[in-house]
């Protein structure tokens, strides 16, 4: 099922007496999610991603704009008529019902022509349970399950009605690190197997990058960039997107462009043809540094951390906006620790130049 958001806007009345103007949680969203894709809504907390999810689910009504499922305008439709499955952040499993009863619950609500016979319901519930591999736990209560198992039950309950769209709200945030890795693979597998268009919300860029077909990066109710994870990473549209994606974080410097050359401090570090002269913000990915004793860019060396295949170089520079600069280089590089400085050449594909006022990408 294709999902289309058209000029979608949601305002909330302000609770702050000093700022009585409305809070715009979602500002004029316009995007299309193709059928069968897994899409991540990514952004820091308070960016409007959960509100967007609630608008798609119908739990909240938009102030303006439209939502289409395929060709149907569902904007005014109550959630139960939209054919969606929703997995809540803390799962919302009914604590007094068993796993089986929890999964059966949505089916028992069906009325009229959709009404199912008891054996059919049981069959559907078992299928859903098998899909998420909890069919051996059917008689347990949620309190007797681990976090990961509860998560699977919640997904089974959302899937059992064969929804047109599956929505997941921070599906991994309540799991520990190891389970998180495992469960995100699991979500990917289930989504591939069922082919259901899936939208999930997360603040964890690594999580989003690893499983999404497409990323929607948001901040303050505004979409900053939409695209495949790798292309967003390699080609960020602005400083926020560049800084939000990638671990370790991108290094940001104050720079100046003069006659097609990018200067950081006194050094001309890169050719940037076609960029207007003036001061700019420069983002350099940690992997964008190439160690070279005669390199164009010299940093004050702090220390190195050996990480097996790679070396992490921690350094300082007066023009860097962060306290530490982090460069990841091959472990074969020989760095003279006694010298106190270290020099690099830069990989132009890993260096981004932004307007220092609008933060828009210039190069």
């Amino acid at each position: 099922m294709k999902v289309v958001l058209k000029n979608l806007t949601k305002r909330f009345p302000s609770r702050d007496k000093n700022h009585p103007e409305d809070v715009i949680a979602v500002n004029n969203f316009d995007f299309t999610i193709e059928d069968g894709k897994l899409v991540g809504l990514l952004g820091p907390s308070g960016c409007g991603k959960s509100t967007t999810l609630n608008l798609i689910s119908g739990l909240e009504k938009p102030t303006a704009g439209q939502i289409f499922f395929g060709e149907d305008d569902v904007t005014k439709l109550p959630p139960e008529n939209r054919g969606i499955g929703l997995v809540f952040q803390n799962y919302a499993l009914y604590p007094h019902l068993t796993v089986r009863q929890n999964i059966l619950f949505p089916l028992q609500n069906l009325k009229g022509k959709d009404k199912m016979s008891k054996p059919d319901m049981e069959k559907a519930a078992l299928e859903a349970a098998k899909l998420v591999q909890i069919d051996s736990l059917m008689a347990r209560k949620p309190s007797e399950l681990s976090g990961g198992q509860q998560q699977r039950v919640a997904i089974a309950r959302a899937l059992v009605k064969m929804p047109r769209v599956l929505l997941l709200d921070e599906p991994l945030s309540n799991l520990d690190a190891r389970l998180r890795l495992q469960t995100r693979e699991e979500i990917r597998r289930i989504q591939k197997e069922t082919g259901i268009t899936t939208i999930f919300v997360t603040h964890d860029q690594e999580e989003a990058m690893s499983i999404c077909d497409e990323l929607v990066v948001m901040k303050d109710g505004v979409i900053h960039q939409i695209g495949a994870p790798q292309s967003v990473y390699d080609d960020p549209k602005n400083l926020f997107v560049a800084m939000f994606l990638g671990t370790p974080q991108i290094n940001v410097f104050d720079g100046v462009v003069k006659a097609g050359k990018l200067y950081i401090g006194e050094e001309a570090v890169l050719d940037v043809e076609g960029v207007r002269d003036g001061s700019v913000s420069v983002g350099i990915r940690p992997e964008g540094f190439k160690h070279d004793e005669n390199g164009a860019f010299t940093l004050k060396l702090e220390r190195i951390e050996v990480m097996g295949r790679d070396i992490s170089v921690i350094a300082h520079h007066d023009k860097c906006r962060q306290a530490d600069i982090r460069a990841i280089i091959s472990s074969e590089s020989n760095i003279d620790l006694g010298k106190g400085t270290v020099s690099f050449n830069l990989n132009p594909r890993k260096v981004f130049v932004f307007d220092d006022r609008t933060d828009e990408r210039l190069f």
């Binding site: 689910s57 119908g58 739990l59 109550p78 959630p79 139960e80 008529n81 969606i84 499955g85 929703l86 809540f88 803390n90 919302a92 009914y94 604590p95 007094h96 019902l97 068993t98 619950f105 949505p106 028992q108 609500n109 069906l110 009325k111 209560k141 309950r157 009605k161």
Partner: protein, 300 residues
């Protein structure tokens, strides 16, 4: 070593006032009430008794006044506990649905809790009472709708019982509404969102989600409701005056006090026996309640 002795001493010193009060006015009386109840023919004036035995219990259980009081109390319990529980549940559900005026309603609903039972009982009395001058407010309403007026205070038994039940419910509602409203509000709204997404009907949400989730509180209210209704007394005094035996409106607790003091008083042994009978009934019902509840939980 000395310091432990000292700290022990200090702790007991802190406890001493409480121990004195509780010992004198709770522990000793508790033991004493059992002794009284088995002392036959105890006379509080001469402080003598004939001997020990279960005569006091047998006397109380054959006393028509006690049987009347028992009957009244049982009817009161059987009517007011379910009525007040269901009514308070409905009101709390209503309160939880709205946001405008909610605090105003909550404040109004709580008022009977802070009123003097005896004082406001008088208002109920004059509302229901029929006198030479007037049939009273309620009878005015009844006749306005084409009914026949009844003296609710000095008239037929059922009418008196009805007023007693109405007043009791009016008095116990604030606590139940307060507790149930906060219990309903504490159900995580995410369950309702989940149910809505699944297209659950309101009835089904109520019986399958809301009710199970607040069932511990409902059980608590039913148990305390039973205990409270079994101990009813001052509401009856407020409506019918202190001479409850004559009004046929006595309760078990009223019987205990009448045996102790007043025109028919001076028999602490009978009073003790009646109090222990009351306590046994309340204890039995509480235990049954708890058993039913535990079964319910296991069955899920």
């Amino acid at each position: 070593m000395e310091s432990t002795v000292k700290s022990n001493l200090k702790a007991w010193l802190y406890l001493l006032p409480a121990l004195l009060f509780l010992g004198a006015f709770m522990v000793y009386p508790l033991i004493d009430v059992f002794i009284y109840s088995f002392e036959e023919g105890y006379n509080s004036a001469s402080q003598t008794s004939f001997g020990t035995g279960i005569y006091n219990y047998s006397y109380v259980l054959h006393d028509p006044y006690f049987l009347q009081a028992l009957k009244n109390t049982l009817i009161l319990v059987a009517i007011t506990v379910p009525v007040s529980t269901i009514l308070s549940l409905l009101i709390s559900l209503g309160l939880n649905r709205i946001s405008k005026l909610k605090e105003l309603f909550q404040t109004i609903y709580f008022l009977p809790y802070v009123t003097n039972t005896l004082a406001v009982g008088l208002v109920f009395m004059i509302l229901f009472k029929k006198t030479a001058y007037t049939d009273g407010m309620i009878n005015f309403l009844i006749t306005a709708f084409g009914g026949k007026s009844v003296d609710f205070i000095e008239g037929p038994y059922w009418a008196k019982m009805m007023v007693l039940c109405i007043y009791t419910v009016w008095i116990v509602m604030p606590f139940k509404v307060l507790v149930l409203t906060s219990s309903l509000a504490s159900v995580n709204p995410i369950y309702y969102s989940a149910a809505r997404v699944d297209g659950t009907s309101n009835t089904r949400i109520f019986f399958r989600i809301t009710l199970p989730m607040i069932s511990p509180m409902i059980f608590y209210l039913v148990i305390t409701g039973f205990i409270g209704a079994f101990k009813a007394y001052s509401d009856a005094v407020a409506l019918f005056g202190t001479n409850l035996n004559v009004a046929e409106m006595n309760t078990i607790v009223g019987y205990v006090y009448d045996m102790l003091y007043g025109d028919s008083g001076g028999y602490p042994s009978y009073a003790s026996a009646a109090a222990i009978i009351l306590f046994s009934i309340v204890l039995t019902i509480t235990v049954i309640n708890l058993l039913v509840r535990n079964r319910g939980v296991v069955k899920g």
